[in-house]
């Protein structure tokens, strides 16, 4: 957690709405995108994002300074996703942990390549076709850049479940994009 963010949290905990607005400015777009990708509905994603931040504001006095704000925020977001998509938690729970799965948690790749917009469009469409649980996991991992451990804490699931879910989501995306990627 950055020092600035910690200060903003402390001020917001004392009721400073300006500090809370700054915090929100920093996180809102990511929260909205996680909600949008998970719910696949713009209006519901907007509602969920608003509700999440109102809940954060109300619960902020109870937030412990030593905890990760981002993980705590996404826990609230995930709980709201669970309440809107009743099958989501069951689907994630149903992911059996694959012990042989060894995924290196290397974080985001530093180098980027110029990818054409067609691939991005194909990928966006392929993500929309994924089951709800996979969409949530893949968005947290790649859009928000969260570590597996952080995602596990946020969605309140075992680490193995998160790794399995992301592995299968990527496999599903690879299958969906196979024809296109082969051409590259």
């Amino acid at each position: 957690m950055q020092i600035d963010e910690r200060l903003l949290i402390q001020r917001a905990q004392r009721g400073d709405t300006i500090a809370f607005e700054s915090l929100m400015q920093h996180h809102a777009q990511f929260v909205y995108n996680v909600a949008l990708r998970t719910l696949n509905n713009q209006r519901e994603a907007e509602d969920l994002t608003q509700e999440a931040f109102v809940r954060v504001w109300k619960a902020l006095p109870k937030f412990r300074a030593d905890a990760q704000f981002r993980t705590w925020l996404y826990r609230i977001v995930t709980n709201l996703c669970y309440s809107r998509l009743p099958r989501l938690k069951n689907d994630l729970n149903a992911l059996d942990t694959d012990d042989k799965l060894e995924l290196a948690d290397t974080g985001q790749r530093v180098e980027t390549r110029l990818l054409n917009s067609e691939l991005k469009d194909q990928l966006s469409d392929a993500i929309k076709q994924l089951p709800d649980g996979y969409r949530l996991l893949i968005t947290m991992r790649h859009v928000q850049g969260m570590s597996y451990a952080e995602i596990a804490k946020a969605i309140d699931m075992p680490l193995g479940t998160v790794k399995t879910g992301i592995f299968r989501a990527r496999r599903a995306l690879r299958t969906a994009l196979a024809a296109y990627l082969n051409e590259l």
Binding site: G15, T17, F20, E21, M24, Q25, A28, Q29, F30, Y32, N33, L36, Q42, E46, T49, Q50, F53, V54, W57, Q108, R109, T112, R113, L115, L119, K120, L123, S124, I127, I138, R141, H142, V143, G145, R170, L173, R174, L177, A178, L181, L184
Partner: protein, 129 residues
């Protein structure tokens, strides 16, 4: 780099570069409106100017109510014989009616003041919760 790794690398890049959907323009202001503290209502307190204003208003109303009596007195002093007992009756009835009206006004003032004070206290209690 084998085929699988190439796929993974491309997929990683594509996922990491996925554009973020823009935030709806009213989202933050909507949240701020929901968390903004409710406007504090100043509790009603009786001030000296309120008392003076009420007394002046009462005096003006009393003057208006008693002016017909003055008119009756003038008629009596002019000794118009036709008025005779009629003026006496009017004076008696009007005096009673005027006193009753002034009393009613005072009671009404007390009720209104008590009502405003009570609602202010209730609001303060609500705010404290």
């Amino acid at each position: 780099m084998n085929e699988q790794d190439r796929f993974d690398a491309l997929l990683d890049d594509a996922l990491n570069e996925l554009p973020l959907a823009p935030l709806p323009p009213t989202l933050i202001s909507n949240v701020m409106a929901q968390i903004a503290p409710a406007p504090a209502i100043e509790p009603f307190r009786l001030r000296a100017s309120d008392i003076w204003l009420a007394l002046t208003a009462a005096f003006v109303v009393a003057c208006m109510l008693f002016s017909p009596l003055t008119f009756v007195n003038i008629l009596t002093e002019m000794s118009i014989p036709e008025l005779g007992t009629m003026t006496e009756n009017i004076r008696g009835d009007w005096l009673g009616f005027s006193i009753l009206l002034v009393l009613a006004e005072i009671v009404l003032g007390i009720v209104v003041y008590a009502g405003i004070s009570f609602s202010s206290l209730s609001w303060q209690g609500f705010e404290a919760r």
